[in-house]
Amino acid sequence: MELTFTARNVLLGATLLGAVGGVLGSFALLRRQSLLGDALSHAALPGVCLAFLVTGSKDPLPLALGALGAGIAGSLTVLALVRWSRIKEDSAIGIVLSVFFGLGIVLLTHIQRLPGGNQTGLDKFLFGQAATLMERDLQVMAILGAAVMVLLGLFYKELKLITFDRAFAQSLGLPVRALEGLLTLLLVTVVVVGLQTVGVVLMVATLITPAAAARQWTDSLGWMLVLAGGVGAASGATGALASASVAHLPTGPVIVLVASAVLVVSLLAAPRRGLVRAWLRERGVEQRIRRENLLKDLYRTGEEARTDPYRLVPLPHLMGLRGQAFGALRATARRLERQGLLSSHDDTLSLTTEGFREAEAVVRKHRLWELYLTRRLELASDHVHRDAEAMEHALSDDDVARLEELLGHPETDPHGRPIPPAPRQPGGAPPSRGEATP
């Protein structure tokens, strides 16, 4: 694609902003200062307007300085409100955001009514208008962006420490307040970088969205910064190219939408923190519990009948035990059958030798836990079943071994039923098929 001069500027500006915003946004996210970023960007508007009123020019440097000054004033106001009044931080941020933004809109309206043609176009700072980026704007953005990156690099480990453990940083003698001030200053600077491209209203999205997406994929702050910068830059570039190739597509909002799409995918699909993974894990646990329950129910049915431990048990009987639906039970049974733990004939199930062994292990956990509760915690024996129902799925083999040790290798549970022996003990071999239990 042949890029026009304007499109090239937009591409450069949006990519730069995305990268710087993502990196610094990571700190804002981890410090739970996302809202502060929003307030600071809104607070920049009156600064831009005042700078224009004073200088009468739209040169990016004075406008940037105005935005910077207003942003700093905004952050100081938040600090002062929290420190000297009883207003809490979230309210202070809300107040500063709305008051400064309101003032900005008033000034903007006033400026637009001034005679002369020079004042048009200041409203681009509201929602951004990347197409108006000039060579000179890019220069200012590049210098500010580079300054942010360099400072962040120089004080990386200190900023990391105050973000993770402020009190410890203080105990080491780090100038925590000054470093926090530096971070806020950097945040304001990034806002200034993004003013023309995405505008004050959507600015916070370029800070937080790439950072939140990056956090999903890594557990290292360094990589998080790199990824967030990458996601930001990529969404910036995509947004710029999209708006250059499709008519009437606003750059800033498209950038935000692209970053949001990346975030949604990250929230769902990230390997460890993703929702899909969590859902699968949860489902896995549920299914395991269902399988273990079915094995145990088959075992118990055989035990109660005092006949063949491998006897055929009809599905309706099993449905009655836990009030399970036929379909769910059938599905669990199929799974177990595939694993060779039980066999089925029509609508009856029976344990295999392997299945019997597995069932024994579950019952063992259940009964040992019941015994533990009655002996150690002196609970009545009719109160322990429900708890053991849950614990039998949670106890590890080590836990069970320790529990058994603690209880002195007991042979019966509080209800007088036998506790199946540990698998490796000599008596632990399952009865051979067709043989009746005594």
């Binding site: 981890l30 480990k157 993770f164 009190a167 105990s171 080491l172």
Partner: protein, 282 residues
């Protein structure tokens, strides 16, 4: 760790707290606390919830400004003794979901030595790994900290303090909510630190284990109740005084002050008097 033992210089106390009063807004947290702690002992700070135990540690570390009074560490203000002191904050005070590894957290203990504008070097990393080894966490060095159990997280914090190679350690509830393994590990660590002549001052919650784990105890309930060797100070009577009646007068005076402030009304003498008349003095 480099295990240079310290020769206790008995004439200079490890910590001297002099007439210390600390208040958050109008609520007094510590009231005229005054004591000296000798070097080379394991010292527990004990008292009920809200007694100001953590605040006392923070005041020693200069993290909170005292209203009146001063604190000296080895005979000088804390800021001149920083490199002699290691700090273990409460485990719950940080976000363990922070994207970083156990090793990285321990390295933070060396930041003071690494200095500005520098990255931790290979020798720093080596030392951090040694400290992790010391608390039995070497294999988990690369583990993200949210993947650690509570006890393991606590041991990471201890390893970070070890990395500081301090002469005095201030620990905020090191035994809180840890498993048996960790409890034993911490205990043997404390004893090792003492055998090296180091001093440990720990906020401690479990009254059962005070006498077993510590040499000396500071009983605190907004003001100092008693301070001294466990054998003579950790008595039923002193515990009664610490936990029994709360410091009703002070607490209520503070409460009244606060209430009045909330109502933006001038202090009502009658309220104060009525409250004082009702509760037991202690």
């Amino acid at each position: 760790m480099s295990q240079a033992a310290f020769e206790p210089r008995s004439e200079v106390p490890a910590i001297e707290v002099h007439d210390l009063t600390v208040a958050y807004r109008t609520q007094p947290v510590l009231w005229d606390v005054d004591f000296r702690l000798p070097e080379g002992e394991l010292i527990a700070i004990v008292g009920p919830n809200g007694a100001g135990k953590s605040t006392l540690l923070k005041a020693i570390l200069g993290l909170v400004e005292p209203l009146t009074g001063r604190v000296e560490v080895f005979g000088a203000p804390y800021r001149r003794r920083r490199s002699w002191v290691g700090y273990v904050p409460q485990r719950e005070s940080v976000d363990w979901d922070f994207p970083t590894t156990a090793l990285d957290v321990v390295l933070m203990g060396l930041y003071g030595r690494v200095g500005w504008l520098r990255r931790p070097s290979r020798s720093h990393t080596k030392r951090a790994l040694e400290c992790l080894e010391h608390v039995g966490m070497r294999e988990l060095a690369g583990r993200q900290i949210s993947q650690l159990s509570g006890g393991q997280q606590q041991r990471v914090f201890l390893a970070r303090a070890l990395a500081q190679d301090a002469r005095l350690y201030l620990m905020d509830e090191p035994f809180a909510g840890v498993d048996v393994t960790t409890e034993r590990a911490i205990l043997s660590l404390l004893e090792e630190l003492r055998s090296q002549g180091r001093t440990v001052v720990a906020v401690h919650h479990d009254l059962q284990t005070v006498a077993e784990y510590f040499d000396r105890v500071v009983l605190l309930n907004m003001r100092l109740i008693a301070e001294g060797p466990v054998a003579t100070t950790f008595t039923d009577e002193n515990l009664q005084r610490t936990y029994g009646g709360r410091l009703t007068v002070l607490a209520r005076a503070a409460e009244t002050l606060l209430e009045n402030r909330r109502l933006d009304a001038p202090p009502e003498e009658s309220t104060l008097a009525r409250r004082e008349g009702r509760g037991p003095w202690s």
